[in-house]
């Protein structure tokens, strides 16, 4: 990290020197942001996923998206990847004979593909018109088509390949998961978590979901434990951890009430890694898996965000417009000396 920053600083100093400002501007590295305390997200546990794709259908319905076909008969919604019309997809990992679930060799596994709601999202940094913003309270990465100019820089920037553009329309929009924020006001939460029959996808505060993920990683594979479903609240987590329900951590009110849907299940053979805890500075969607994450399509990412690197460069060069103004001043002074009023551009001498 330090080496990287030092190198960055050197590189910027070089640029500054070339630009000619004598690189007096101090280079302040912009740190990667963290998940906001009230950040909302999902916990996807691949060992609990049965591949029923109820979440894919629910997502389509909640976001009013049309089906997409990849088979000849065009009977079912069968997208092969997320798209401008598919914000959530369960993909399948296959190996050899595919005998054992969640086994890397001769096994199979599922993986959810949807927006990770990064703590420091590249798409938000990239968007020139603030059409992609991160909600300062709940951290949802929100899209506003009324501002979007359709440049697709967010598409190119995302390390997870999430925002997608609708190329088949003259008025195409960017499509991506927004955690069903349009349903929150009615007390509903993310449709994928709401319908998930096994609790493989849970909705909740990222801080709560992270504790639950760590609880699972600490369990002995093959033992039996209690799994929650739907919306995991702080109180339920405390019960799962066998702790008294602490005070002072108020849940956002207004979520709809649900009956207890907990069930007993066998503990899977987890990779000891909560994907999204550290990746890119953290993401609000967290993942657990039995198969190494890279095999199930989750990229290996550094603990810092490229948005931080990019903004460090931009603000070192253009922060407060100090450097451009200094350079302009110097250029104007020199040009005034070398250009006489009679010297119309390109004219005779």
């Amino acid at each position: 990290m330090t080496t990287r920053r030092n190198f960055l600083r050197g590189a910027l100093a070089a640029t500054g020197a070339i630009v000619g400002a004598g690189s007096t501007a101090s280079v302040q590295a912009r740190e990667t942001y963290s998940v906001p305390p009230e950040g909302l997200g999902l916990l996807y546990d691949a060992t609990l996923c049965i591949g029923c794709k109820a979440c894919v259908a629910a997502c389509k319905e909640a976001n009013n998206n049309p089906p997409e076909f990849s088979t000849v008969d065009k009977l079912w919604d069968t997208p092969l990847d997320t798209s401008g019309y598919t914000f959530n997809l369960i993909k399948m990992y296959r190996s050899g004979t595919m005998e054992t679930k969640d086994a890397e060799n001769n096994g199979y596994a599922f993986m959810k593909t949807s927006c990770m709601h990064c703590a420091d999202p590249s798409c938000v940094s990239a968007c020139p018109v603030s059409a992609m913003i991160k909600n300062p309270t709940n951290g949802i990465v929100e899209y506003n088509p009324d501002k979007c100019i359709g440049c697709r820089y967010c598409v190119a920037a995302c390390p997870f390949g999430i925002p997608k553009y609708q190329y088949d329309s003259p008025t195409g929009e960017i499509g991506k998961c927004e955690l069903c924020r349009h349903r929150h006001k009615d007390g509903h939460y993310s449709a994928c978590a709401e319908v998930c029959p096994t609790g493989a996808t849970l909705f909740g505060k990222t801080s709560v979901l992270l504790e639950e993920a760590k609880r699972r990683l600490a369990l002995k594979p093959g033992s039996v434990t209690t799994y929650p479903r739907g919306h995991l609240r702080h109180g339920q987590l405390k019960a799962l951890l066998g702790e008294p329900e602490g005070k002072g951590r108020m849940e956002r009110t207004g979520w709809k009430d649900e009956p207890n849907q907990n069930y007993e299940g066998e503990v899977g053979n987890y990779q000891q890694h909560v994907y999204g805890e550290k990746e890119y500075g953290g993401t609000q969607v967290l993942k657990l898996s039995g198969v190494p994450f890279e095999k199930v399509g989750m990229p290996k990412l550094p603990p810092y965000s490229s948005a931080a690197t990019s903004e460090t460069i931009q603000h070192s060069l253009y922060g407060g417009l100090l450097m451009p103004i200094a350079v302009l001043g110097a250029l104007t002074w020199v040009a005034k000396r070398n250009v006489k009023p009679e010297d119309e551009e390109g004219g005779q001498s």
Partner: protein
Amino acid sequence: MSTHSSSHVHAKPAPVGGPLFNAVTLISGVLILTMAVILLVRFVYGLGSVTALNDGYPWGIWIAVDVVIGSAFACGGFSVAMLVYIFNKGEYHPLVRPALLASLLGYTLAGVGVIFDLGRWWNVWNMFWPGSVNPNSVMFEVAVCITAYIMVMWIEFAPTFFEKFGMDNAKRKLSKFMFAIIALGTLLPMMHQSSLGTLLVVMGEQVHPLWQTPTLPALYLLSAITMGYAVVLFESCLASAAYRRSIEMHLLTPLAKVMLGMLAAFLILRLGDLVVRGALPRAFGLSLEAVFFWLEMLCFIAPFFVIGSAANRRNPAKLFVAGILLMLGGALLRLNGFLIAYQPVIGVETSGVNFSYFPTLPELLVTVGMFAIEVFAYIVITRRFPVLPREEVKPA
């Protein structure tokens, strides 16, 4: 009359004259019409109807070639103006106006070309709307800077029109603050040409390590200035041949030396960066990226062999070749970063998803059409407006 000294006596620019209808303008016209038809389809049916863009490759040649490479090719005006007015090399003065014209056309078209690629172009005003702008966005900086520079260049070039239409008063008034316009016209391309490189930084791991580095802004700026001189060499040779004028060798020979100096600075930074980051080993191996890296390197290094010696720099054919090589090198640096080295996120390897991009014919024809507009406008303007230095003696 004189700017910096009477030691530089230059021929006044004058219209070349001659017919506007010839084989070149006719072909250009056909290409421009073809482009117009394709764009009509694009705006009625969407980007997917004419381009090969897909969920893995959101940017194609309309961005990488028309905008990123196109605007770098249009750096001649900036590079030469910097030499003349900032480094006070008045002897290069006759090169300013033709170089500026090419830049003006190149940038204006790059700016217009962006609109073709914008999926929601009617919202583009948000780019300049205080309630919408995002100063953290590299693209915001690029867009604002390029827009400002296009306007600055039209002002810089305005005396040409004033002369043509006899607006002496306007010309005199403008000349009083031309120095400020020139200063701004030097600063703005420095800002956005470097930022065009910074555009790639936020893409992080998706860009191959041979092209993903925090030195991108410096690399893009240095190469853009170098390309600016290369374009001037190329253009001067071409214009001289096409209009049967004598080549300004007394200017191009020393200019080529300046260009090699900039090129050397670029190469030192480029290779030094690869070594420091430990990315150089990635250039050795059989991959598309490695092949394109060496192609790019070849184009950047070859000019030293072509015009490295003073004798060779007096040979117009060699200057022409070196100019083309450098333009190719700079173009490859950009094409590589934005397309060849861009690796989309695929997800689960065994899910059968694989992305590829190769431009469609209509997509290519739009790019060709954009260059055709440039050629067409260059011919019309140089034949009818005072841009190129007046020829004292018409060569046979």
